[in-house]
């Protein structure tokens, strides 16, 4: 699914030299994997997320997504790839206000050629358990429900990769747990999930945890999926 090799990224600073945010990142993520990327704030994990999500450009290195090298692609082509292959889930949900759940979920379909957008949106909302809240506005939904709408929006184009950036960061513990179950279910259905979090407990729900610190990646552990399930029960 994802192959990164020698990825570097820096930001210019006014007085000092450029700030190296990512340093020679190397990571391979296979189809169907569930990977948590953990790290403290300022470690570069958001930048890595933006690069993984084709929202930001790299300075050097190779990034291959789904077998296709994305270095040097036009921004229009990158937009198309985001639409088809990646579903984003943000910490702040980023739902459109005064726009119903189903209308929010339809947004990615505005930019695709998929037919039957309405039916796709309904199916996505049913998949996240909100089949009975489709006409509700975000203002009328709980935080957990809003994030589910956002996940439905990420799923509606049927992407292979879900990128989640602190998806439970704005939720209470119970809603967070529910959401993690939903991610687990999506992964069980074969979707590749990359989740960024600073919460190591949440990260344990993933198969694999990668730590990022000061712009460098290190593999933390390979968690056995069955073990993770067990931990849930206990």
């Amino acid at each position: 699914m994802i192959e990164m090799k020698g990825i570097c990224k820096s930001y210019p600073r006014p007085d000092e030299g450029p700030l190296q945010v990512l340093k020679n990142i190397e990571i391979n993520i296979s189809d169907g994997e569930y990977v948590a990327i953990v790290g403290p704030s300022g470690s570069g994990k958001s930048t890595l997320m933006n690069i993984l999500g084709l929202l930001d450009h790299t300075e050097s290195g190779d990034y291959t997504l789904g077998g296709e090298s994305v270095s040097g692609l036009s921004s229009a082509k990158l937009a198309k790839l985001r639409n088809q292959k990646i579903g984003f889930v943000f910490q702040q949900f980023h739902l459109l206000p005064r726009t119903s759940a189903i209308e929010n979920v339809e947004i990615p379909l505005v930019y695709s050629d998929a037919d039957n957008p309405g039916q796709r949106a309904i199916a996505a909302l049913e998949q996240v358990g909100l089949g009975d809240r489709m006409k509700h506005f975000p203002e009328e939904l709980s935080g957990g429900q809003q994030q589910r709408v956002a996940i439905a929006r990420a799923l509606v184009t049927d992407p292979e990769l879900i990128l989640a950036d602190e998806p439970t960061g704005n939720l209470d513990k119970a809603s967070g747990e529910d959401l993690m179950d939903l991610f687990q279910k999506l992964n069980d259905d074969g979707r590749t999930i990359v989740m960024i979090t600073h919460d190591e407990n949440l990260a344990k729900r993933a198969q694999r945890i990668v730590r990022i610190d000061d712009g460098r990646l290190s593999e933390l552990s390979d968690v056995d999926p069955s073990e993770s399930q067990m931990g849930d029960v206990v």
């Binding site: 933006n50 229009a76 985001r82 505005v110 184009t157």
Partner: protein, 403 residues
């Protein structure tokens, strides 16, 4: 890109943000309404004037008026060089002339009948007025050639003038008094209403042109006259002949300006359209100012909206919107609002024009042309106003927009 979803989304934005939409819409509605209304008034006025012109000035006639292109009162007194004999000569010398009639007028005369007095214009015409000037009598008779030859003391009176002077009495056969001259009423003129100069053609009297010149005005010249040709295609050639003959008859040197004006139907229509330019062009241009202000207001509101919607734009880009698609979307949003406002404005304009027309009697003509002009203006305002906001929205960096 799914255009249907995009338009649905734009329409939704319009409905869900009613206050914002209202302020964006109001300028265009006012602009397009006034544009449609004023064009309706202009076109209506032009058509009414053209109708009158065509009714009184058929396409195979030429008017000859005394004075050098100067139709109103002159500081040096009236031009006295135009004579009845000029028209007789033109009838004999210009090709294709079938009729001619000279006329004179004497405005603002006190006309008396018993105790009643009414001020009106006295016109002197020849006996063939019905054929030459398209106006006959609705009752009684017009005066005859013999009566013109002998400068008889007879008159034909307009309906309104007759009603004012005679009240319930039958006017025909009665004697009225103009100054010291008694005139016998022979007939009542056909109704004609208000002419292009604003004069009430039903509030005047006609007498033989000779009677007016010799008995009432004591002059030997006429004010104007008309030549009727057998074919409209002869008008231009005849106008040139008239010029030549008249210059010769009035002994004008080549360097001298003419002391007459030759008015052909094409020229009269030109003059009428020019007179109408204020209504047809300048007033609608004022509506353009309203639309310009609307464009500035819309651009401002949209620029603020783009600022408010930065996260939305970030999400849209994250889920696959290309820069060009964001640009198109924001342009679409402004154009959807501006076109809808334009449709409202056009609707209100039609209702206002038709309503005003039926209440006031002012001729109002709403044309497809003025409606299209209004809607096109609305769309242009939308595109112009939306250009900068759309550019700003599409240029946002998604990483910053989502932060």
């Amino acid at each position: 890109m799914n255009k249907k979803l995009l338009f649905a989304g734009s329409a939704r934005m319009m409905m869900r943000y009613k206050m914002r939409t209202f302020f964006m819409a109001i300028g265009i509605i006012i602009g397009v309404t006034s544009l449609v209304f004023m064009r309706a008034m202009g076109v209506g006025a032009e058509q009414a004037m053209m109708d009158t012109v065509n009714k009184t000035f058929s396409i195979s006639t030429i008017n000859l008026v005394a004075g050098g292109g100067h139709m109103g009162p002159r500081s040096d007194g009236p031009v006295t060089s135009l004579k009845v004999a000029d028209f007789v000569a033109l009838e004999n010398q210009v090709d294709g002339v079938v009729l001619q009639g000279a006329m004179q007028w004497f405005p603002g005369q006190d006309i008396r009948y018993q105790g009643n007095t009414r001020q009106m214009a006295v016109y002197g015409y020849t006996a063939n007025t019905e054929a030459v000037w398209q106006r006959g009598v609705m009752e009684g008779e017009y005066f005859t050639d013999d009566e013109v030859q002998s400068a008889s003391r007879v008159a034909v009176i307009g309906r309104r003038a007759a009603d004012a002077l005679f009240g319930e009495e039958a006017p025909i056969g009665k004697q009225i008094q103009v100054g010291s001259v008694p005139l016998t009423i022979k007939g009542i003129l056909e109704l004609q209403g208000i002419d292009t100069h604003g004069a009430d053609k039903d509030d005047e009297i006609h007498v033989p042109v000779t009677t007016l010149m010799r008995r009432l005005m004591n002059v030997d010249h006429v004010f104007a006259g008309r030549i009727v040709l057998d074919d409209p295609s002869r008008v231009e050639a005849a106008a040139e002949q008239i010029n030549t003959i008249m210059r010769e008859r009035h002994s004008l040197a080549d360097s001298e300006p003419p002391d007459f004006v030759v008015l052909t139907p094409a020229l009269v229509q030109d003059i009428v359209s020019n007179a109408n330019r204020v209504l047809l062009q300048y007033l609608p241009a004022a509506a353009g100012v309203a639309l310009l202000v609307a464009a500035i207001v819309i651009a401002n509101i949209m620029l603020i909206a783009v600022k408010e919607r930065v996260p939305e734009i970030g999400v849209r880009k994250a889920v696959g919107a290309e820069d060009g698609q964001i640009n198109f979307q924001f342009l679409t949003e402004t154009v959807v609002v501006s076109l809808t406002s334009g449709l409202f404005g056009a609707g209100i304009g039609i209702v206002a024009a038709v309503g005003y027309g039926s209440v006031s009697g002012v001729p109002m003509v709403v044309t497809i042309g003025s409606l299209s002009l209004g809607l096109a203006a609305a769309v242009i305002v939308g595109v112009v106003a939306g250009f900068l906001p759309a550019k700003q929205a599409s240029g946002l960096n998604p990483v910053n927009a989502l932060r």
